[in-house]
Amino acid sequence: MEVIRLLEIRNLYASVGEKQVLKDVNLRVGEGETHALFGPNGTGKTTLLNIIAGIPRYTVDSGEIIFKEKDITHMSMDERARLGIGMAFQRPPAIRGLRLRDLIRIINPQVDADSLLEAMDFEGFGERDVNRGFSGGEVKRSEMVQLLAQQPDFVMLDEPDSGVDLENIKLIGQAINRLTQKDLRPSLRTKSGIIITHFGHILEYMKTDRAHVMLGGTIACSGNPKEILDQIKTNGYEGCVACLCPR
């Protein structure tokens, strides 16, 4: 049985300012799947996520993004969010005068803020201004709390393990598993995700179904996450692509 496609990207070319960063990206993420995205710095991973999120600075030159069978290529970012796309920012801004607890309530009035804060070991931060004066690890936990409130159908995580100690990596991995319903049997999962990680530490604490390597603005290779990560560790990104996905 084929999995139901949640997100499909077809022949996507995209730019930041004058510079074309994405070149012919094709990607399919099925319902219940979590994908990992590897690749050297500056190869377009973050751009791809920002394009899917709809951040206005990034422009799609051609191609399309289909989400839940809707063409969202030119949809505003808040509409995409309400349609079920969520993103953890790598370096989110601080928002003065907005308490984290209030933001949680705005994102989802039905959710119990206390239990979410507790789940991320983040009690006491509810009364703090969002991300203001937060350490690296605290910022990541703040992002996870907000996503747990948002409950997106498709969650995007941009290096949730960078600058985070081991204990926090575990906590964040658990939160990602919760966001992507890894506590459910595979056939019951409907929520999906994509994660950018450099070192793969976080993958020891979360489950992924598929991995991709980005090189030069496109997806150069896709396959089993463990196999790809092992290849990258041994042969580097290009070596991995040459070995697993020869042209």
């Binding site: 505003s76 970012m77 808040d78 969010a81 969520g86 801004p93 005068g97 907005l98 705005i106 994102i107």
Partner: protein, 402 residues
């Protein structure tokens, strides 16, 4: 003719230094009288509701209450021994010593507005916290401009005696059917040795109302003041520049100004004179304009060594129709001073907007959340109830981008 009357007569046409000029002849000097009540809760419901709208909960616990409707004081209620609240006319009759405090910090001939107040029979409140009395609950006052085109003149005197603690919240408001009017308010604050005062003023006016508060404050040794002004609703013109003189060693003054201007011509700020060693002052103003023309002033004058002062004028300008003109002034007149300021006029950060929109907030919602946060000033020296009241007011107002 008394000296005060004489000075007032001479300054009848004297324009104010700042703010647009008002033709006083365009407003009525007489209004109908209002019936006085013994207790604030006996006031008409619409008056109580209007007070509530400017953060003055007349039904909840307080140290006392004062309400003036147009030119008539209708409630002057003391709830705590050691705190005295009277209407100013009665107080002047009762206490001869008040002559030493009456028109001593604000001069009757400062401008045509003070002159106009001085030329009228006195109306307003007299509040005194006796020596050592510490209040927990605020004194609640409401100045209610209830007649169209009326010129409301108010003169308040507040005395916090040695070692006392006093919190006052004053809401000034017009009911929705009154759009046009004038409010002139003279206030004189005497904060004596080691006394601690917070004064919070919340304004909510009609679109054609003009407002000219005139405030003088004197602070003795070891005293402290937290002065807070909040205006989130439309007003035609407003000009205020309260002056605090820190005369005693170690006196500390803090001014917070929160403005959301959708229209009108506003000229706001504070003026602090640090006149004794170890005094310090801070003035923080947050201004959002979505169409209003706002001048945000701040002036600090350091006259003796060891005085410290900091000014912060930050503005968010969200419309081409609006203007924010930030004028921080530091005047050092001695060695060993520590005075600084920061001023900024800018826009809402794209990054913050995008961040909130990525969480599903619409652009309007995200803008409003950021604007509220910007106006949410951390105010020191306020009782919890008042902190909450200020927060609630900012939360419930409809604050949006242009």
């Amino acid at each position: 003719m008394s000296k005060i009357e004489e000075k007032a007569r001479q300054a009848r046409a004297k324009k104010a230094l700042y703010g647009t000029d008002i033709d006083l002849e365009g407003y009525e000097a007489e209004s109908r009288g209002h019936e006085a009540v013994r207790r604030a809760e006996d006031l008409p419901e619409d008056v109580k509701k209007a007070a509530l709208d400017v953060g003055v909960k007349l039904d909840s616990e307080s140290s006392g209450a004062f309400v003036q409707m147009d030119q008539t004081p209708v409630v002057a209620e003391t709830a705590l021994e050691g705190v005295e609240i009277m209407d100013i006319a009665s107080a002047l009759k009762k206490y001869d010593y008040l002559q030493d405090y009456y028109w001593k910090l604000v001069s009757p001939d400062a401008d045509k507005y003070t002159a106009d107040v001085a030329a009228s029979p006195p109306a307003g409140y007299f509040v005194r916290a006796k020596k050592g009395i510490k209040t927990v609950f605020p004194i609640k006052s409401c100045l209610y401009l209830g007649s169209t085109n009326f010129n409301q003149r108010v003169h308040n005197i507040v005395i916090a005696e040695e070692g006392s603690e006093l919190h006052v919240i004053t809401g000034c408001t017009t009911p929705s059917h009154v759009q046009r009017g004038l409010h002139l308010g003279v206030s004189e604050f005497y904060i004596q040795k080691d006394a601690k005062v917070s004064f919070t003023m919340i304004h909510s006016w009609g679109r054609e109302v003009e407002v000219r508060p005139r405030t003088g404050i004197v602070m003795d040794e070891g005293s402290s003041l937290s002065n807070n002004y909040i205006l989130l609703r439309p007003v035609r013109t407003l000009q205020t520049f309260p002056t605090a003189t820190l005369n005693g060693r170690g006196a500390v003054a803090s001014f917070n100004t929160v403005i959301y201007a959708s229209m009108g011509n506003l000229d706001v700020g504070s003026n602090v004179i640090l006149n004794a060693p170890e005094t310090s002052a801070e003035s923080i103003s947050r201004v959002v304009s979505v169409g209003g023309d706002v001048i945000a002033r701040g002036r600090m004058t350091g006259k003796v060594p060891g005085a410290r002062a900091h000014l912060e004028c930050v503005g968010l300008l969200l419309s081409d129709k609006g203007r924010i003109y930030s004028i921080p002034e530091l005047d050092g007149q001695s060695r060993d001073l520590d005075m600084s300021h920061e001023a900024a006029v800018g826009r809402i950060s794209e990054e913050e907007l995008e961040y909130l929109m990525a969480r599903g907030l619409t652009q309007d919602q995200a803008t409003s959340v950021i604007v509220r946060g910007f106006l949410d000033v951390e105010i020191k020296g306020l009782p919890e109830e008042l902190k909450q009241e200020i927060k609630d007011i900012t939360q419930r107002e409809d604050l949006r981008g242009a």
